[in-house]
């Protein structure tokens, strides 16, 4: 049993807003759903499955399904942070492959900037987890937790701040062509390493943007894809893996991609050498370096060298990545970037990326999501897709 060839991505939409004052979160979810349906050439009533994560208000996806007036045969609110939406494509493909639905909608939306301005504090999640008393008092933040992963990676492998900076430099080269990107200025390695340290060793420009908005994806059965005007993007394989602190046997130098990647490549029947374009979750520059190693694009510890000298810049390097500008420059809606990773990979496979960053003959692409805290308590999701001829 496999999802290979059993499901197609038929519709995508990224909300153009980066500052959603005056809009509600349910409204943003509905707007991106509408955009993806129009992109696919489908209507709301075609949807029979809905996938969402903790950014949706209410009990799982039920309240949002009510808002949007959906009548469903399948609902799934798998929550692994920013990678959730990559896992949702996998779950939707599984449900389609086993006949439980035909048209699946996935949405992400949020407004952290507008919420901050309105002094609204919203955090998804239930009660205090078991480890809380052992961590909360020591003031872990997203940045110092990723910082600790980067510090250890530097210690073990000699990775440098300049190497990390190349990830941001590449993202900025792509973002200059994206009219919606939060940051469109091309930056240099010097710009990154001279920006202020937030938490050692991460500078301000090693961090992703904070932005409002969202995105949506429509996954459909092959027989639906054949009826649509647009060429669908074929799902080839997927893998997912949570990673945690393993009872105190801590290793922050690798991510769950070490496990989700091989599963996805095996199911797809391809290798890293076959990937023409990669969307790699880029909450921070170190996220990209560790993920590329774990996915097998280079050996463990070689990620710093791999990303250097523009190797991730489209038209320059060997592995064009995040050609929308990624989370580092374009968009990280609701503090989660997984859905935009899939969306830009689909644009590349359709040949619809900006002409300055479009990868020629882009037939196979990968999208990888990293949720939670790199190396410590996190969820990884890998998705491999092929340009469809359906």
């Amino acid at each position: 049993m496999t999802i290979k060839g059993k499901a197609y991505i038929a519709g995508i939409y990224e909300h153009p807003t980066r500052n959603a004052e005056g809009k509600t979160v349910p409204q943003l979810h509905a707007e991106v759903a509408k955009g993806a349906l129009e992109d696919a050439g489908l209507t709301k009533d075609d949807i029979d499955a809905y996938y969402c994560a903790g950014d949706v208000p209410g009990m799982g996806g039920i309240n949002q399904a009510e808002y949007m007036g959906l009548n469903l045969r399948q609902i799934d609110s798998t929550e692994t942070g920013g990678s959730s939406y990559v896992l949702h494509v996998n779950h939707a493909a599984q449900a389609i492959a086993t006949g439980h639905c035909k048209v699946a909608l996935i949405t992400l939306a949020g407004r952290p900037r507008a919420d901050a301005k309105d002094q609204i504090r919203v955090r998804p999640g239930g009660g205090a987890p078991a480890e809380y008393g052992f961590e909360g008092p020591f003031r872990p933040t997203v940045t110092n937790m990723y910082g600790m992963a980067a510090m250890r990676h530097m210690h073990e492998f000699g990775t440098t701040s300049e190497q990390l900076a190349w990830v941001k430099v590449a993202a900025s080269h792509h973002a200059q062509y994206n009219e919606h990107a939060v940051l469109r200025d091309v930056v240099t390695v010097e710009d990154v390493v001279n920006s202020p340290i937030i938490a050692d060793p991460l500078h301000r420009l090693d961090c992703c943007v904070v932005s409002d908005g969202g995105g949506a994806i429509i996954v459909v059965a092959p027989e639906i894809a054949k009826q649509l005007k647009r060429p669908g993007v074929r799902v080839l394989g997927a893998g997912e893996a949570p990673k945690h602190l393993n009872g105190g046997k801590v290793d922050l130098t690798f991510s769950g991609a070490r496990w989700s990647g091989p599963d996805a490549f095996a199911e797809a029947g391809v290798t890293p050498a076959d990937i023409k374009y990669a969307s790699i979750y880029d909450s921070f520059t170190i996220t990209v370096v560790e993920t590329l190693e774990d996915l097998g694009f280079c050996a463990k510890g070689e990620g710093g060298k791999f990303v250097s000298d523009g190797n991730l810049i489209s038209g320059v390097g060997k592995l064009p990545f995040n050609t929308d500008g990624g989370g580092l420059c374009n968009n990280h809606p609701s503090d989660r970037g997984g859905i935009t990773k899939v969306i830009e990979a689909v644009r590349q496979l359709r040949g619809e990326a900006h002409s300055k960053v479009q990868v020629p003959n882009c037939d196979i692409a990968l999208a990888h999501g990293t949720g939670g805290l790199l190396g410590s308590r996190m969820g990884s999701g890998t998705l491999i897709m092929e340009r469809g001829d359906a």
Partner: protein, 133 residues
């Protein structure tokens, strides 16, 4: 950039429940505990009733030496009072989250020897910070 020795760490009392009360009670006496499994012999942290390695419920608390080495750390600097979060690997095996105190934030290093330095929360518990040994 130089920081003053962080001699007055921010102290937030931990949440205590029935599963972790023995750990926090011991902190008030200056003792650092991990959990030991009597079946597979592995030590783990944070302490649980069931061993996360073999799922045995035959676990007990083990008093540690309080000595360890810095596995990794990060100084949060864009704030009025910087602090150093760290993972410290204990002599007994497990690695735990903590803050490094009584130290120069610009002269820390991975692999450095550290020892536990309890700070009273005023609520019947103490937080296991670490300082250079």
């Amino acid at each position: 950039m130089s920081e003053k020795p962080n001699s007055k760490p921010q102290v937030r009392a931990p949440r205590v429940n029935h599963e972790t009360k023995p750990f926090w009670d011991a902190t008030a006496e200056g003792k650092l505990l991990v959990k030991k499994c009597n079946d597979c012999g592995e030590n783990h942290f944070y302490p649980r009733s069931l061993c996360p390695f073999c799922f045995s419920d035959n676990t007990e608390f083990l008093e540690c030496s309080g000595k360890g080495v810095i596995y990794t750390y990060s100084v949060t600097r864009r704030t009025k009072e910087p602090w150093a979060i760290a993972y410290v690997t204990l002599e007994e095996g497990p690695t735990m989250m903590t803050n490094l105190i009584n130290c120069d934030f610009d002269n820390l290093s991975i692999g450095q020897a550290v020892e536990v330095a309890f700070v009273d929360t005023g609520e019947g518990t103490a937080l296991p910070f670490f300082q250079p040994a």
